[in-house]
């Protein structure tokens, strides 16, 4: 969803803006160039503040209120940490949602991403029909997750679905809370794999072939070449893939929303936020508190990761 898009835009564009500022100090530039650069820094910064930081800080502030979304801002009443206390103590869907988000992350990390990398490596070898495979694996990425949900509905449907039709089982894949999270994860992985594959394939194409040749000359086998030579060289792509894995698992939303609005075994933090904020309920304060939890989780994950990466690069 937009939330994580916006959020990840924060560190990266901030970073970019910072670099430019340093750059300007060194260079001797003419008036027009200077103006262009000033604009290039100021405009994105303003957009960033307006589109990312203003809503982010706004929702953190709102999370301490009981606002119902109606009426002037002056009608907002601050109620301290009550929303947070309520979320962790008396809101039953919250802990399952956290758990499901973590499962989602684990599956993406352990299944979807390695699978995508594996496909990319295979396709990079220019096997016959590589374009067909490429298209087939990438196709789900083009579809929205909502559409993916519908497609898999045809497979999972209890009465008319493919699986139950072939096996004769009567499992309600999307409806039974014992199975529906895993059913949804299969569908999500189907899509995520293609995404990772494409990113990785693009990276692999950029690896200098002479490196491989050198490895071969040194007597390295395929596996050694990949893990000892190609993989380390691909570090920037690896970072992107990893960050995307984390982001995508946190922004998992549309698929489960299409299935059953994130209820009954498919609770995710993002769906809880939506259930509370959007709709007639309008528990804006409470929903914002949930959104803040998401903000904290993703910030922590990304900060930890960026720290490691930065340290390695130095």
């Amino acid at each position: 969803m937009t939330i994580t898009n916006a959020r990840t835009a924060a560190p990266s564009s901030g970073d970019r803006a910072g670099k430019r500022r340093r750059y300007r100090g060194i260079d001797q530039l003419g008036g027009l160039d200077r103006l262009v650069i000033i604009l290039m820094v100021v405009v994105p910064t303003l957009l960033l503040i307006w589109l990312v930081w203003f809503p982010a800080v706004g929702s953190v502030i709102l999370s301490f209120t009981n606002w119902d979304g109606i009426g002037p801002l002056s009608s907002i009443k601050f109620i301290g940490l009550k929303n947070y206390v309520d979320v962790v103590t008396i809101y039953p869907p919250f802990w399952p949602a956290v758990q499901h988000n973590l499962i989602w992350l684990a599956v993406y990390f352990l299944v979807a991403t390695p699978l995508g990398i594996f496909f990319a490596v295979l396709l990079d070898r220019e096997i016959r029909g590589t374009r067909i495979y490429q298209t087939a694996i990438y196709l789900p990425v083009v579809l929205s997750l909502a559409l993916v949900g519908f497609i898999w509905q045809l497979i999972y449907s209890k009465d008319q679905g493919l699986i139950n039709g072939l096996t004769g089982s009567t499992i309600d894949w999307y409806g039974d809370p014992r199975f529906n999270l895993w059913a949804a994860l299969v569908a999500a992985t189907w899509k995520q794999t293609g995404y990772v594959m494409l990113l990785y394939l693009a990276g692999l194409k950029g690896v200098d072939p002479s490196l491989r040749e050198a490895a071969k000359v040194d007597g390295a086998n395929e596996r050694q070449t990949f893990f000892r030579v190609v993989f380390p060289v691909m570090a920037p792509i690896n970072i992107i893939v990893l960050v995307i894995t984390v982001i995508e698992s946190l922004r998992a939303f549309d698929l489960v929303w299409v299935i059953n609005k994130g209820r009954n075994g498919l609770e995710l933090i993002a769906t809880l936020v939506t259930q509370n904020v959007v709709g007639e309920a309008s528990r804006i304060g409470f929903g914002s508190a949930l959104a803040t939890f998401m903000l904290i989780i993703s910030t922590v994950l990304i900060a930890v990761y960026l720290r490691i990466v930065m340290r390695e690069q130095r």
């Binding site: 969803m1 937009t2 939330i3 898009n5 916006a6 959020r7 835009a9 957009l47 307006w50 589109l51 990312v52 203003f54 809503p55 982010a56 706004g58 929702s59 709102l62 999370s63 009981n66 606002w67 119902d68 979304g69 109606i70 009426g71 002037p72 801002l73 009550k82 309520d86 103590t89 008396i90 039953p92 209890k158 309600d172 999307y174 409806g175 039974d176 809370p177 529906n180 059953n260 609005k261 209820r263 009954n264 993002a270 936020v273 939506t274 259930q275 509370n276 904020v277 959007v278 709709g279 007639e280 309920a281 309008s282 528990r283 804006i284 409470f286 914002s288 959104a291 998401m294 903000l295």
Partner: protein
Amino acid sequence: MARPSTEAEYLARMVPSSAAGVSRRSVLRGALGAGALLAAPPLLASCSSSSPSGSSGGGTAPATGTVSLGSNQSDATPKAAVQSVMDAFQKANSGLTVKINTIDHNSFQENINNYLQGAPDDTFTWFSGYRMRFFAAKDLAGDISDVWGNISGMSDALKKASTGDDGKQYFVPSTYYPWAIFYRKSVWAEKGYKPPKTLDELKTLGAKMQQDQLIPIAFADKDGWPAMGTFDQLNLRINGYDFHVSLMAGKEDWSGDKVKKVFDTWKGLLPIHQTDSLGRTWQEAAQALQQKKAGMYLLGAFVAQQFTKGAEQDDLDFFTFPEVDSTIGTDAIEAPIDGYMMSKRPKNEDGAKKLLAYLGSSDAQNIAVKADPSVIATNDKADQSGYTALQKKSAEFVKSAKSIAQFLDRDTRPDFASTVMIPALQSFIKTPDDIDGLVKNIQQQKLSIFTS
């Protein structure tokens, strides 16, 4: 926007707002929405709530121009019903055109807050009960007390159901429908079933149906709200109408014995309910009844929408939820009222009021109930001779009831109904054993929501 003074101005108004250029508000909304965090809706709402511009003069000249109607009746049958009513209105009022803006039923409800604070249509479909009073109290609905002066044939009870907390009217009732247990006459005649009068009889009947390879009670709760109907029926039978009202108002203890008894009784009935209900929509459950796989279905009369008009709908019959406690009886029923409201600052106030007055009239309702025979007219003067057997029975049923409740999500706060009750009822259906923990949790959340 003021009333048009020139022809050009009048024509300009015909352009849909989406094409008529960009307002400050929509710029803000678009920009905020584009990069927004999930929590943007609060801010979005705050922008759109700032001083909506323009209001109608409300002159004395005959109403002309376009009246817009936001309709949540997106299913085929009710959508056609709305269309035919509006056609008749335009025929009767040559100067007025109605622009129907149909929005998917669930989306309409989900976006109602932003919709009403943004640029709503002049009139819109809505429900009576707390949900209506809520928007009236929040100053998002137009006062239409003067329209009520032109409506005849509405009972005092209906007027009361259309009145906000401040004593003014904000709502025009159109149609309603009762909740009851529906069954197919042909199936029951074949097997010799009789409508049960008490809970024990219902259980016996259920056991008999199971022997006959029928699902006794079709059941679906994927969308979260149909189970509220079961809860309400049991609550009305076990604790009565007054308790329902004060429970919905947040004045009762959800963890008390009375609510516990409702869930306990329900738990006893779950074995004769259709299993896997959390993955099924009400339409699918209704089809189980329609295909004679299920013997009964506790739902609103709109269940008839899943039956073909004519013989198949005539085969549909119902009985009220059986008695649980003889001191409480069965004279309280649920019959939610659907109707229309006016937005706070309609662009064409005169036209909107004229339309609303028409919608409350027996003429309009005759057309509506004919197009959708699962509902009945609220106006006493409506022609009942054209009613189907089911409509006649519904009308009789509602008339004989001593107290009429709306529905759980119409009688209580929307935040409580959707964020507390839906997950609670679903978790009860999943694991009906921990009733004490369940009601305790509902009570804690209720305290938090109703006192904040």
